[in-house]
Subunit: 391 residues, 2 copies
């Protein structure tokens, strides 16, 4: 579908990333100007990204200040009554996306309209209901295509927007048998120009997929994190990366997730029922932990967890890979981490993955570097020779 | 209790970490030789660490090859019949720890015996049962102290052992009102010489704490990951850091965790019941997502997740802090990451936290750097000026 943009021989400096960007065909079928409805994080980022490749972008948002900020950032110009957008990107909250899509289809009878909400069936149903109620013609409805760019940041709002936000991020296009090719082409071009990786799914496939790989993890993290309200400060001092990893996304925005979870309830429920069955089984088992078969039960749950986790693709969408981990102690000050990584680079070893863990009482950090297993021994030797403490 | 070893003015090279180590008092009350029972990852690491500060270490393991590897690595010498260890560290699997503690208390009537198992009440109960059955005197039992070093790695076995494994890791000492001071002192000295941060708790407090901050997260990750067995490959292509983070520890070793979860079942069950109640409530709510009050219900769960997650201490045990995040695109080859971090260091900004995210289709990585919020703008400007793509 899309070919990788960067080969492994690209040099690091963004001058070369920019050069590589130049080689992407700028040819596109998007009808300008592009109107972005909703200048939050995603809408403003789309505006910035499309402007950076030379498209004319208009903006509108119910909040005058949000729109003003987006204009000031350079994401586009404010929509006026005379404007006739050829393409409309609805970047509004899921709750109002359907209504905004219908408004846009009616107001600009030649425009292609796409949305970017996290759920697709609910929006499609709103469009279909509008057609059934006579508020929209079937032909008008064909100018709409549901899409979902899977990018985001922990902050929200236009101030955090970046045009590069969608670089190498998945962007799902949800076509049906009735979607005209030119509409698909416009949506594809938007995603492609913003640097995303395009996937095609039906709305049902999409909602089922995100229920499993995004919505259920969010629920699990929130369920787990909410337990911590009853955890003592002393116990929390013992918290390690396991707790941090499993609860990290519990810091998500409630108002957004309420909309997503209620809109996708139908696809989420089977997953919740499955999890409930496993949890009930575990509760039964641990209520009689010395009973015959109890250990086998728990081992089966752990083993199924192993198998499921191993199915998650590794780097760059390839097969799940086992990398070897090298943990280096670093002092907690500017330059410390770069010094350690310089030593790794000098040893000629590529850093496949990277994370930090912090010590509970000391101003020392642990830099956890994933490397190809065959390189680990050499790297540990090289670092140790230079005086680094390797765990 | 323990003072931080490293101040922020320490220079990065481990020569200075070593110098700082020198200033730690080597005075200790440990009776040598120290015998380590069980040369797995932790036992062998303890051996290496104690030998590196000059203690005489003996080793024993039911597996001749595991013991031979540990000896070859330099973790200690094999135990002989003539040896009289003054201190015994039982580093066996939780299932056999109690029996090994009792054996050691009986065989060496002057030795202090400590264990390192992940659960403490179960072990204490085994010791008490032995006293009640007349297999051990109460005085003998007083020479035992339960401890738990909270360090570890995804690999197991002596080959992965490192003496520095416990540096800045929490090490819990579980004392009761009967534990003699000299026994506490020996255990404290072991932990301190290995560089750990010492915490004192009763066995019940310990088991309750680890149930909440370690065992429940493990269960949640395994429950969530096991669902992925039914997830299509196409859906998994959309997986992002949220799924990866929440399922990372689902790759844990089933045989070890079966022992831990069944041994600590009593403390884990209340947490599972609480989670079940929340899950049932959510299932009810999402079964009628348009009902009045449904959204409030879901919002409450999300909000409680926010609150719980915010209670997890930030870096170095301090209050949970909000850092600002700066995401830089890096090419995926040796030297790329160090080049980006050099630019951050040149800008004079400290890296508070660090992780990588990988793109699904491209050979490009996203380096996510946490910085003090007040430095973010300066850093983004500095990086952008140098040509880096900042998301």
């Amino acid at each position: 579908m899309t070919t990788p943009r960067f080969s492994r021989t690209e040099i690091v400096n963004t001058a070369s990333l920019a050069a590589a960007t130049e080689t992407i065909s700028k040819h596109h079928t998007i009808h300008e100007p592009v109107l972005i409805v909703g200048t939050g994080l995603l809408g403003t980022s789309i505006g910035l990204g499309l402007r950076s490749v030379g498209l004319q972008v208009l903006l509108t948002d119910p909040s005058p200040s949000a729109q003003a900020v987006a204009e000031d950032i350079g994401a586009g110009q404010g929509l006026t009554d005379e404007d006739q957008p050829g393409t409309v990107v609805v970047a509004a909250p899921p709750d109002v996306t359907g209504a905004e899509v219908i408004k846009a289809l009616r107001r600009w009878p030649a425009a292609v309209v796409l949305d970017i909400a996290s759920v697709k069936v609910a929006i499609a149903q709103e469009i279909a209901a509008a057609v059934a109620a006579g508020e929209l013609t079937a032909q008008d409805a064909q100018r709409y295509i549901g899409t979902h760019p899977m990018a985001g940041r922990e902050r929200s709002g236009p101030v955090a927007a970046r045009g590069e936000l969608f670089t190498a991020a998945p962007w799902v296009l949800c076509t049906t048998s009735e979607t005209p090719q030119y509409v698909i082409d416009v949506a594809s071009d938007v995603a492609r120009l913003l640097g995303a990786t395009i996937y095609h799914m039906t709305p049902e496939e999409h909602d089922g997929a995100v229920a499993q790989i995004s919505h259920l993890p969010q629920i699990a993290a929130s369920l787990l994190a909410s337990r911590l309200q009853g955890t003592s400060g002393q116990a929390l001092q013992l918290a390690g990366n396991g707790l941090r990893d499993t609860t990290r996304i519990a810091a998500s925005d409630p108002s957004l997730w309420v909309q997503i979870l209620t809109a996708n309830a139908e696809q989420i429920l089977p997953e919740l029922h499955g999890m409930k069955a496993d949890l009930d089984r575990l509760i039964n088992t641990l209520s009689a932990p010395s009973a015959s078969g109890a250990r086998l039960d728990v081992a089966q749950l752990m083993d199924e967890g192993n198998r499921g986790q191993a199915r998650i693709p590794g780097k760059h969408g390839g097969p799940a890979q086992g990398f070897a981990q090298v943990t280096v102690l670093v002092d907690d000050k500017p330059g410390a981490i770069v010094s350690a990584l310089q030593a790794v680079a000098d040893a000629g070893v590529n850093v496949e993955d990277l994370r930090m863990e912090h010590s509970s009482g000391y101003q020392v950090g642990m830099l956890e570097i994933a490397v190809v297993p065959g390189h680990k021994k050499h790297l540990v030797n090289a670092l140790t020779k230079l005086g680094w403490k390797v765990l």
